[in-house]
């Protein structure tokens, strides 16, 4: 990705608040994003909400990159009503590595984290009700992982619940 460094007031504030923590601020196609370690992501979200007026969690999602050593990329998209600005926070985590839930910071994260858990199998610690949301409760596997095939993902479930051979 041909991103350029993001220079401005907000990156300076972030570097002051989180010194020497491997935090980078970049711009790609005019969109700002912050890359940080998973341990401090929740703190950054908290900091942005309380100190920088980013009062709205637009979205929370994940990307699976199984070839990388830390396979999952978590993406938090925040918006600020007073500043009319959007910022993304990205972090990397490995398989079976839990992340801190941000439900105490934004209520909206409740369903969004459940969906990420449902689709990718990422566990959020401190989530009040972490269970599947879109897929059936008894489903095996996590559909949006790259190793999950688009056809016949859980034959066992399909056979026992729908009485047919495959999902196709």
């Amino acid at each position: 990705m041909q991103s350029t460094p993001w220079e401005g007031v907000l990156p300076e504030h972030l570097e002051q608040a989180f010194p020497e923590r491997g935090l980078t601020c970049q711009v790609y196609l005019g969109q700002h994003f912050i890359t940080a370690a998973a341990a401090i992501t929740a703190d950054i979200v908290h900091f942005l909400r309380d100190k920088e007026q980013f009062d709205f969690l637009t979205d929370l999602t994940a990307v699976d990159r199984p070839k990388d050593p830390l396979r999952f990329e978590l993406v938090y998209i925040l918006y600020s009503f007073p500043r009319n600005e959007r910022v993304r926070i990205k972090t990397r985590i490995g398989d079976n590595e839990p992340v801190r839930s941000i439900t105490s910071i934004f209520e909206a994260a409740n369903w969004l984290e459940r969906e990420v858990y449902d689709m990718f199998g990422i566990a959020f610690t401190g989530h009040p009700n972490l269970k599947r949301i879109l897929m059936p409760d008894e489903w095996h596997g996590f559909p949006l992982r790259k190793d999950a095939s688009i056809i016949g993902m859980d034959n066992e479930w399909v056979q026992s619940n729908l009485g047919i051979e495959s999902g196709q």
Binding site: M1, Q2, S3, Y28, L29, Q31, D55, F56, L57, T58, D59, T61, V63, D64, V75, I77, F81, N84, R86, R88, F106, E107, A108, N110, W111, L112, M119, R132, I133, L134, M135, P136, P143, L144, A148, I150
Partner: protein, 375 residues
Amino acid sequence: MNDAIPPEGDYLESSELVLNMGPQHPSTHGVLRLVLKLDGERVRDVECVIGYLHRGVEKIAENRTYTMFVPYVDRMDYVAAVSNGLGFCLAVETLISVTAPPRAQTARVILTELNRIASHLLWLGTHALDIGAITPLFYTFREREEILKIFENYCGARLTTHAFRIGGLQYELYDRFEEEVKAFCEYIKPKFDEYDELLTNNRIWIDRLRGIGILKAEDCKRYSVTGPLLRAAGVKWDLRKAQPYSGYEQYDFEIPTRESGDSLDRYGVRMDEMRQSVRIIEQAVERIPTGPILAKVPKVLKPATGEVYVSIEAPKGELGYFIVSDGTIQPYRVRVRPPSFLNLQALEKMAKGALLADVVAIIGTIDIVLGEVDR
């Protein structure tokens, strides 16, 4: 004998009743299932069970090319398919740094605003039906039909239109397009007053909606609620104004707001929004520029490695697409930020303490489409 008489004050104590509402229930607008914990008629707790219409749209996207995926987004919010398509096309255009030509942008605005009116009309009819007013449904569907006819004349489809292409439009506007759109605007304007007469000053309508399902601005922000729900709580925020796209900055229109954030206010906001949409359409149809309708877009789309998040103001709120490209012809990941999904989450807050009959009204005013909630 005395043991059989319960102590005073406990006569009316009832045990908790768990009631399943849906997934096959006419007033849940699709396959939404609610698990309600009732104390008499009072709702003590509510849990939404969703996913009955999950088709794995985001997974399908990873197995299609960018162009092949455009029709799929129409199937999410199927009553506002044009908006879905606009959002996705804009996101891909941002990713490949292409802008649609002015003629295409204006046509997109007209079609999207027509679709906003169609979506709100469908909402109005079904919501009134849920409350018990049967008549408005027939009127709103009659008016909506006129919009669908314009869509049909334009692209051959009425519901899942696939109206836009990445980079602009596929089809040139048909000969009588401007004429028909203008005629429609003249046709619909007095109809809004008819709805006012039917509902706005209707005693039963007001009693059923006022003070029901209040969601204040602070709660809207905590729950990431957008669209008419947010504006009914007094936040003057609309992406068409805040971060204009597709040339919305050229048009003169207002963002309707209300103060208290109850169901009646959401009704008021949507009614005003339809009038504003007519205003936008009337301005746009007068100044459709001439010129090409499709920008230069390569036949095989291979965006450079990177990612973008682009969002638009869909009829139901902020509809966003987060697209990750790995430099191949297929998107590496497409994430849809559905407005209905996040708005529905706030139901659990709104319905607590309400009466069972009011839950129906609250679901109605959120304006959910399950195709979008479940994707």
